[in-house]
Symmetry: C2
Subunit: 503 residues, 2 copies
């Protein structure tokens, strides 16, 4: 009998359906009955969980009972700064010694202000970065470390930068390194990746201890990178801890032939932290180490904290405050961090995807893995979470899939500023400048009339010279990066540091 | 017999092929033999011509025997201005009285400088235009007319702006009108479309006559507009002249309800031209009218010249210098312009597409149409052509399909500056600032290290106020557009104009 092709397909489908039913029966027969419901339940739970994440992408914009433009207009003539309370008696709680229990929801105002302070330190690593691929200094900081906070209006925070950090990677990682098109450049292999800063005397009195801050710059690590993550974990430490190999490569790579990474970012930062800790310990001061970063920088912050926990005396508390950071390591990595007392506060935005990476499906909530394959290569988040919601702010466009906007650090800082608790609406007294959100993305509602991605140089840095020609001005000599970092410290900074030491 | 489906298709193809051969035979039999070769030749010629245009899109970059970066570096310390010769004895030739015969190839240096002067007047209409869709003044000029040339460093040319022009369109034209997102705006219907300026006494002496300039702003008219062009010609004048209905709509639309177009652009410009001509005629001066524009602005310039030719006395010569302008009207339009003595110099870049629009196929070279349908709706270019080639400049990226770059007015001005003749390489003494080319496109070779699209405001015009908040500053009151244009003239301008009149 000749069969039409559609009949063949139909028959094949019937065969298949039959096979599936039989296969299911066989499966049922083979597996001991007691185990099925638990596994099935966990599997369904995990997959539902993953799907649920996907469905969270379209929050409803909040209903606006206020006339937003005039409400916003009023804010423009009020200062953005809040009073700076003396938190010296409570600093250990704010620094996370009790894992921020009972002060996250509702969010304690003192903690809110500190989170924003550290977030702004991280934002500085973006704002001062030279992205200009025609600049011979592409990938460096546009200012030397003594100018950085002045240039970015962050001197108000009362910290001084003591060290710039540079990183490279032996592994070819897509789109993380900013590179100049120019042949003769300050560095072909390294990027400015962050800095170490320390609180001055006044701020030290206010916050109750000498605070050593490390801020790590992120890159918006591309999805193709995350796709490549699964199973690419490298061991760290002496136990079974493993971490994602790309993050570890950036943190630890060095090469004698380079100018800025004869030592790795890890070597640079640990040398500076131990030097500063010893300095202030000898003076009998209380000390804290606070490590912060956004996105990839949040991952580097965690690696840094892990290493610092081994190197720094036990009485020096170490905290990580990360923003939109991805998962970094396996469950042993997490356990070791906890055992060593590293406290981690992960600030995440519900609609952002990066903090769900790597391990969108295979993560700590995918419990069935415990039984199937062990947890050696399941990525796990660590610490406490402060979860923000784009939909909570009347200033933000909620809908759509604005991934750069949801992930932007300025969006995070805006949402922290407006966060009271998971149950209450956006804080009406929030004072932080709303316009900052649109610096590098398009998140603000149109009524506010703030252009998108407005953070830009006039004429991309070109200036008209005396002959009427548009030229790129030479960089101020003291802003040219130097691999011999100490040689760059001008007299004022030396004096400033002496003050820090002698006070 | 059962047939496989592929066999059926094969058979169908054979049937079709057979039919086509027969159809061709029938065609051959029906048409009188004498006519075939001519028609066929013309058809083939026209289509080859069109195809040839397509193939011109990929010029080979010139071989570079010079070390471009150091060659360019040297230029940066030389002035961009050339000496300004006294052209008062030759101005009529330079203004085109002999259709620029014998001075285009090779290009006379005096004419080159004049073309660039008028090009810069046109460029001003882009450089000063407010494109910010969050500005309540979107679509206006950012400066009042007395500041315009100072702000754009064009005062060196020795002209003063006497009138701003505004246009609207009753026809819905895609993407030509820049509109504010803001509810309360200076105008919902109109855009600043150009200006009238007049030479001051010093320049008048140098160029031998009082020169009235009209500069028309273009928009990069989108392809969907051109697609719609064919057969949409409206009559103009009293004979059979017809012009593209979109251009004519912008030039002639008015509406009593609007603030800036109670009179049309045509009414505004003609009132100003006739007023100025009368003024200087009464003083016994020699006068010229020079109308310039880029892209759509070049089309408006031609419409303006057509109208002015009827209104202005015969002894006042009228010239159009257009850059990358599309075709505007039919052959009668062209003939009338020629009969009235309007001289047109069309500057075109070989790789640009806009000057081939509308009528990429059906144009003046499509001769077969004469016989088939008459020339009533065939678009025709007018005047003389100065043809530039992107491939001639060692500074420009040649390859690819960089349509915005090929069409950019700054690319045109750069190529005019470097043009000696169609046979010789780029002029090595060309002094115009090369960096200007990349203002709003990406045309310069990477070795020059000029960022693409660099013409931008710092932070898109936001400034940090006293409270540390980023806000859009209020526009300087005397730069706010006014529909009662004369009310805006400050005292200095009044005095300046009086000087012009009394000198």
């Amino acid at each position: 009998m000749a069969l039409s092709s559609s009949a063949v397909i139909h028959m094949n489908m019937n065969v298949k359906r039959f096979d599936m039913v039989r296969a299911q029966q066989e499966l049922t027969l083979e597996i001991p009955k007691s185990k099925i419901p638990k596994r099935a339940t966990h599997l369904v739970e995990s997959i539902c969980n993953a799907i649920h994440h996907h469905l969270q992408m379209d929050p409803h914009p909040p209903s606006r009972s206020i006339d937003l433009p005039s409400y916003y207009e009023e804010k423009l003539s009020t200062p953005t700064m809040s009073p700076r309370e003396d938190i010296s008696q409570k600093w250990r709680q704010i620094h996370g010694c009790f894992n921020w229990e009972n002060i996250l929801d509702p969010l304690h105002p003192w903690l809110r202000r500190e989170i924003i302070k550290y977030g702004e330190f991280t934002q500085a690593t973006y704002d001062a970065f030279d992205y200009d691929s025609f600049s011979e200094y592409c990938g460096s900081c546009r200012y030397n470390r003594n100018k950085l906070f002045d240039k970015l209006a962050l001197s108000k925070n009362g910290y001084a930068v003591t060290k710039y950090l540079y990183a490279m990677s032996h592994i070819e990682l897509p789109r993380w390194l900013e590179r100049s098109h120019v042949a003769d450049t300050w560095s072909r292999d390294s990027n400015w990746i962050g800095y170490v800063a320390v609180s001055n005397d006044q701020e030290t009195r206010r916050i109750g201890r000498r605070d050593i801050v490390v801020a790590w710059r992120g890159t918006v690590a591309p999805f193709e990178w995350y796709e490549d993550f699964q199973r690419k974990l490298d061991p760290i430490g002496k136990k079974d801890a493993k971490v994602e190999h790309g993050f570890l490569s950036i943190y630890t790579s060095k090469c004698e032939k380079t100018r800025y990474n004869k030592s790795s970012a890890s070597d640079q930062v640990m040398k500076e932290i131990t030097k500063l800790v010893r300095l202030y310990e000898e003076k009998g001061e209380e000390i804290s180490v606070t490590i912060t970063g956004h996105s990839l920088g949040g991952a580097l912050a965690l690696l840094n904290a892990y290493e610092a926990a081994y190197a720094v005396p036990n009485n020096v508390p170490i905290s990580v405050i990360s923003f939109g950071a991805p998962r970094v390591g396996n469950i042993t990595f997490k356990q070791e961090l906890e055992e060593m007392g590293v406290k981690t506060l992960r600030v995440v935005v519900k609609q952002d995807w990066v903090h769900r990476m790597p391990g969108l499906v295979f993560n700590e909530s995918f419990k069935v893995f415990e039984e199937i394959a062990g947890l050696e290569w399941v990525y796990t988040h660590v610490g406490s979470e402060l979860k923000l919601d784009v939909g909570s702010s009347p200033y933000l466009k909620g809908g759509g899939m604005n991934l750069p906007g949801f992930h932007s650090l300025e969006t995070y800082l805006h949402l922290v500023d407006g966060y009271l608790s998971s149950e209450t609406p956006f804080r009406s007294e929030a004072k932080r400048d709303v316009a900052l959100v649109n610096k590098c993305c398009d998140m603000l509602v149109d009524e506010l009339r703030i252009p998108q991605c407005w953070y830009q140089l006039a004429n991309k840095g070109l200036v008209c010279n005396d002959h009427g020609r548009w030229v790129k001005p030479k960089r101020d000599p003291d802003d040219i990066p130097s691999h011999d970092d100490d040689a760059l410290v001008p007299d004022e900074m030396q004096r400033y540091m002496m003050n820090l030491v002698s006070s």
